[in-house]
């Protein structure tokens, strides 16, 4: 089902979405937002603000109680649960704890995203070195995650998230486990990726990063949209 209200520039539209958990926790409370193609948007809020739940809704790991979510002009709430992989293939995810597979090398971790999506070996062999080059880890392709620093591990996770050229890259506190200097390096990498045309939605509670980057910022508190700042 196509969204009649959206322009084709909008990658994501969230309309009045509610998600609650028993007995009486409303994790996402009537949130609406939209993101246009090529944008870099921050979502800022403390723990329990609803950032992660919102991301889980966007990736169809959870279903909303009410409201609509349009991704690439398609209402993903109408997509059956067993086909949620179709939504996930349009998204890329970066997490605070990197979520790398410890027994796979850097190359294998990154290539894994294409393998899972059933891409050909030829495509995997072509694309994997390209993204590893982009994140500056081509020379460490044979290393295992345990042999890398925190920043490098996050770069591997970013490479894995963008290898299939997603419409929207979602990053949930990607600098949460990193020191200030490494966080800046990672933010620079995100900006580079954004400049290549990838839309990014990033959750953070680090105000300094937000102030420095000066991108559109949506503030959440207790599951509600509190404010929106456009620089």
């Amino acid at each position: 089902m196509k969204n009649p209200d959206s322009s084709f520039r909008e990658i994501l539209m969230v309309q009045d979405v509610v998600k609650s958990y028993p007995p009486n926790l409303v994790a996402v409370n009537h949130i609406s937002l939209s993101i246009t193609k090529g944008e870099f948007v921050f979502i800022v809020g403390r723990s329990g603000a609803g950032k992660t739940t919102l991301f889980r809704l966007l990736s169809k790991q959870e279903e909303p109680d009410s409201g609509l979510i349009w991704l690439n002009n398609r209402d993903i709430t109408q997509i059956p649960r067993h086909k949620s992989y179709l939504v996930q293939r349009e998204l890329g995810f970066v997490f605070q704890d990197f979520k790398l597979i410890h027994y796979k090398t850097v190359y294998e971790n990154v290539a894994f995203a294409l393998e899972v999506q059933g891409k050909s070996d030829k495509k995997i062999r072509k694309r994997t070195p390209e993204v590893l080059e982009l994140v500056g880890l081509l020379n460490k392709r044979k290393s295992f995650p345990a042999q890398l620093s925190g920043g490098e591990q996050q770069r591997v996770a970013i490479a894995r998230a963008i290898i299939h050229e997603p419409s929207l890259l979602i990053a949930d506190e990607p600098t949460g486990n990193l020191d200030w200097e490494t966080s800046n390096e990672i933010m620079t990498l995100f900006k580079t990726i954004n400049q290549t045309g990838t839309t990014i939605l990033m959750a953070t509670h680090n105000e300094e990063i937000v102030q420095k980057a000066r991108f559109r910022t949506i503030y959440l508190e207790k599951g509600k949209k509190l404010d929106e700042m456009v620089y």
Partner: protein, 293 residues
């Protein structure tokens, strides 16, 4: 070709999970082996019991004695009716003279007695088609005209069947217990494997893996447990088969029905392996369903 690549990957992942889950995998295989081994033995025994039942049936001779005053025409009619019964394998008419001769041959002392005529009334000797039908057959014959009495071999047949029935019940109970254990063990081991892979599963789900992609290796893992257990059970079956076969022939040494033991064994082995794979994957399916609920 895509499906082949997928299958190769799923089998590889299943094998990795199998090795990672070492001790549990070993335990599951042993339990599935015990369950399938007991099933296979019970199947094998039931085949031999069936043959044995037929064989014993052919040795449970029923003798029906006519009333001495029965007219010859009636004797012939009753004889024909008995012969037509489906539960009868063989019928023989025994005249009083023939009966006396047989009696004398069994008890030579009788030869010294001067008997003017045979005291034994005319009779028919009946071989039942199956020992299971003995009771019904005796009942039918008793009601026929001219029949005065029938030798009752029901008790002998009954004691044989009560042993068989108790054996069957015990066997079924054992199968049930072992299979419940089998399903539980494979299901638990698969759950542990899934748990060990929870991080990879979470990653796969975020990077767009289909349900089949995530779940298939665990279903293959379950069927691998079942297959290996069944294979070991089948291989352990041969020496047991030899013992059963030897016992059977020492028990029914002049068995008129030749038993095709080896081909039955092969069929049971194949059946065991198929069942092992099937139940292994069904058990794994339960575990997968529970985890991904």
């Amino acid at each position: 070709m895509r499906w082949f690549i997928d299958l190769k990957r799923e089998m590889r992942e299943a094998w990795v999970a199998f090795r990672r889950n070492g001790i549990n995998s070993f335990g599951s295989i042993i339990i599935s082996m015990v369950a399938l081994f007991s099933l296979a033995i019970i199947l094998l025994l039931s085949v031999y019991v069936q043959y044995g039942t037929k064989s014993i049936g052919q040795r449970l001779n029923i003798t029906a004695f006519f009333d001495p005053s029965t007219a010859e025409q009636q004797l012939n009619e009753t004889f024909s009716r008995v012969k037509e019964l489906k539960t009868v394998s063989k019928v023989e008419f025994i005249s009083p003279e023939q009966a006396l001769e047989e009696l004398k041959s069994r008890f030579p002392d009788l030869n010294e007695m001067e008997l003017e005529e045979s005291p034994i009334p005319p009779s028919i000797r009946i071989v039942p088609a199956n020992s299971k039908d003995v009771s019904a057959l005796i009942r039918d014959i008793r009601e026929m005209p001219g029949i005065a009495s029938v030798t009752d071999v029901t008790e002998a047949a009954k004691s044989y069947f009560s042993i068989v029935n108790i054996g069957t019940l015990l066997g079924l109970a054992l199968i049930f217990i072992f299979f419940a254990g089998f399903i539980f063990a494979v299901s638990a081991s698969t759950s542990l494997s899934i748990y060990a892979y929870r991080k990879e599963i979470e990653i796969m789900q975020f990077i767009g893996a289909t349900r089949t992609y995530v779940r298939a290796p665990f279903l293959i893992l379950g069927s691998l447990y079942g297959f290996l257990g069944a294979l070991l059970a089948s291989l352990s079956l041969y020496p047991v088969y030899q013992q059963i076969n030897q016992f059977y022939y020492s028990f029914v040494s002049f068995d008129p029905i030749p038993i095709q033991g080896l081909s039955i064994l092969i069929i049971i082995m194949i059946l065991t392996i198929v069942l092992g794979i099937l139940i292994g994957s069904i058990s794994a399916y339960f575990a997968v369903r529970r985890y991904f609920k």
